[in-house]
């Protein structure tokens, strides 16, 4: 920018010298000479005026922009200058957008922090119950009196509580690893049917216990970029839920459809369904529907499932009618 400025100034000086040389040179008529010199001088003057005019414009623009930036910084709206067809207005609009984005991120961070705090209190709450149970039975065992029932019963209860604790910690570790990105998902062009098989195997035992029929419809050649191990885990969590909330002799159907952008794995059950008001909450950490608070569970399964799928740039959606069953769609992008 600076060199351009100097070149222009030099060019102007050069023109002036030429003009002078022309004026005092020997040949040519006097009047003609004066005329040409006047024209050249006039151009010269115009040139200088132009320079100052545009410089002033640039100074004004930058002053306006600085003022806008100051306003944005102090949280004063720059609305009044946003909707005009001028350069300043364009900049004001961009600055306003920037401010909006920053404010939005701040708000998001605040929300996340609050969620985290709630989560910590929830975790401690969840851990406390089994621990205090174990403690109680331990104390009872210490005061064991042969006149009491067999100690085996106590031990069984303690074992059960320990299992609960173990399960809780296991799930927590998984979810925290996923969140802190300690786990790198390794998508490969794997066969969907294998992932499905792994997931179904995980819940087969439970399903058989309730006489629930699980059917899978999936072309065996179908491949999709996904992390087989973790996707199977996500699917297993969803299937586990389906089994849990489907009454005995129910049906679970898994179908796979390929679309233009996504491959959709549909898990449809004949369970109790989800209330419309609960629909968006079910993916929240530690969220449990009030009506199912008696059924075993922590409210981490679906949260984890969604986390796994969205890390792979896919998404999960649910459709459900109360009393008629739910249908989960797990959508994975066709290309990596």
């Amino acid at each position: 920018m600076k060199t351009v400025k100097y070149i222009l100034i030099l060019a102007n000086i050069f023109l002036l010298i030429c003009c002078g040389a022309f004026l005092f040179s020997e040949n040519g008529g006097g009047v003609r000479k004066m005329e040409s010199a006047a024209i050249i001088l006039a151009f010269e003057l115009l040139n200088i005026c132009y320079y100052y005019f545009f410089r002033r414009q640039a100074v004004h623009l930058s002053a306006d922009v600085c003022r806008c930036a100051d306003n944005v910084l102090h949280g004063i709206s720059v609305q009044n200058m946003q909707y005009r067809e001028t350069l300043t207005s364009k900049m004001a609009a961009e600055l306003d957008k920037l401010e909006g984005a920053v404010a939005f991120h701040l708000e998001e961070n605040r929300k996340e922090k609050k969620e985290l705090q709630e989560m910590i209190s929830e975790i401690t709450h969840q851990i406390k119950t089994p621990v205090s149970n174990i403690k109680m039975y331990c104390e009872m065992l210490a005061e064991y009196d042969s006149a009491w029932e067999q100690p085996g019963q106590f031990l069984d209860i303690m074992k059960q509580q320990l299992r609960k604790l173990e399960f809780l910690l296991d799930t927590l570790i998984k979810s925290s690893r996923l969140e802190t990105e300690m786990i790198n998902l390794e998508p490969e062009n794997g066969r969907v049917i294998e992932t499905l098989a792994a997931a179904v195997n995980g819940v087969m035992h439970k399903a058989e216990g309730k006489d629930i029929d699980i059917s899978v419809v999936c072309p065996s050649f179908l491949r999709v970029y996904h992390d087989i191990k973790w996707t199977a885990e996500a699917l297993e969590n969803i299937l586990d839920n389906a089994v849990k909330y489907t009454p005995a002799n129910g049906k679970i159907r898994i179908t796979v459809n390929t679309g233009e952008m996504y491959t959709e794995i549909q898990v449809k059950d004949t369970g109790k369904g989800i209330e419309a008001a609960e629909m968006n909450n079910i993916f929240k950490r530690f969220y449990r529907e009030k009506s199912v608070s008696r059924t075993e569970g922590l409210g981490l399964g679906l949260y984890l499932a969604r986390e796994i799928i969205s890390l792979q740039k896919g998404y999960i959606s649910v459709r459900s009618k109360e009393g008629k069953g739910s249908c989960f769609s797990i959508c994975l992008p066709n290309r990596a």
Binding site: K97, G259, E260, Y262, Y315
Partner: protein
């Protein structure tokens, strides 16, 4: 934080004996970054409401405030620029320009504003929408779902505060519809945009953060999911 607020918005057509109340006192607030679905039968006034929210039409009475700006105080030119910079529109019939390529269609709103397109941002948008290989094609060489994806990219190109969609899946089969909505949701989440969408599909409305049912120009039901 509310990005959009409509207060007691009314739109009447005609005069007393044959007065048509397209909108009859609608008050609603939309939170930033949320996905709102508006449902209702045809003729219930949902399209009119969307037009009011986007500054495409002016209400008979009441006020619409978008991103802190009251729309009724603006003149026609200001409104045009407002729409160009703040609102992204998606229509049922895509409204792509047939003799421009996909890429030209997408950057049109930005270029109309006399700005250079933010290439890095556009690249991510185009990639999430799976349009990277279609950029040089003309819209009529694409399928319906692909065309609507181009329209979504165009709506997002100017980084608008709000995306207004009028039955974006009305012309698509149910499977493609779900895909388009899924994409719309993921992209808007990634780029922190607010969506207000009209739909007659209850399934789609179910997946929204909030569903509003409009009947006879009034809000009949507002449900937070």
């Amino acid at each position: 934080m509310y990005i959009l607020r409509a207060e007691n918005v009314k739109k009447y057509y005609g005069a007393e004996p044959v007065l048509v109340k397209a909108l009859d006192g609608i008050t609603l607030e939309v939170e930033q970054g949320s996905f709102t679905a508006i449902v209702g039968t045809s003729g219930s006034g949902k399209s009119t409401l969307l037009h009011m929210l986007g500054g495409l039409d002016t209400p008979t009475d009441g006020s619409v405030v978008v991103d802190g700006q009251e729309l009724s105080g603006m003149d026609k030119n200001e409104l045009t620029i407002f729409r160009r910079r703040k609102i992204g529109f998606i229509f049922q019939n895509y409204n792509l320009i047939p003799n421009l390529t996909v890429y030209e269609n997408i950057v049109l709103p930005v270029e109309l504003d006399g700005r250079a397109a933010d290439r890095r941002y556009l690249e991510t948008v185009v990639k999430t929408l799976g349009l990277n290989e279609k950029l040089e094609q003309k819209p009529n060489q694409l399928s319906g779902g692909q065309q609507q994806r181009v329209a979504i990219a165009r709506a997002l190109a100017a980084k608008p505060a709000i995306v207004l969609a009028d039955e974006p899946t009305g012309n698509l089969d149910s499977h493609t519809s779900r895909e388009v909505i899924g994409l719309l949701q993921t992209t808007s989440k990634n780029f922190h945009q607010t969506i207000v969408m009209i739909t007659h599909d209850d399934e789609i409305a179910q997946s929204a953060d909030r569903a509003i049912r409009i009947e006879d120009g009034k809000i009949a039901e507002s449900r937070w999911a």
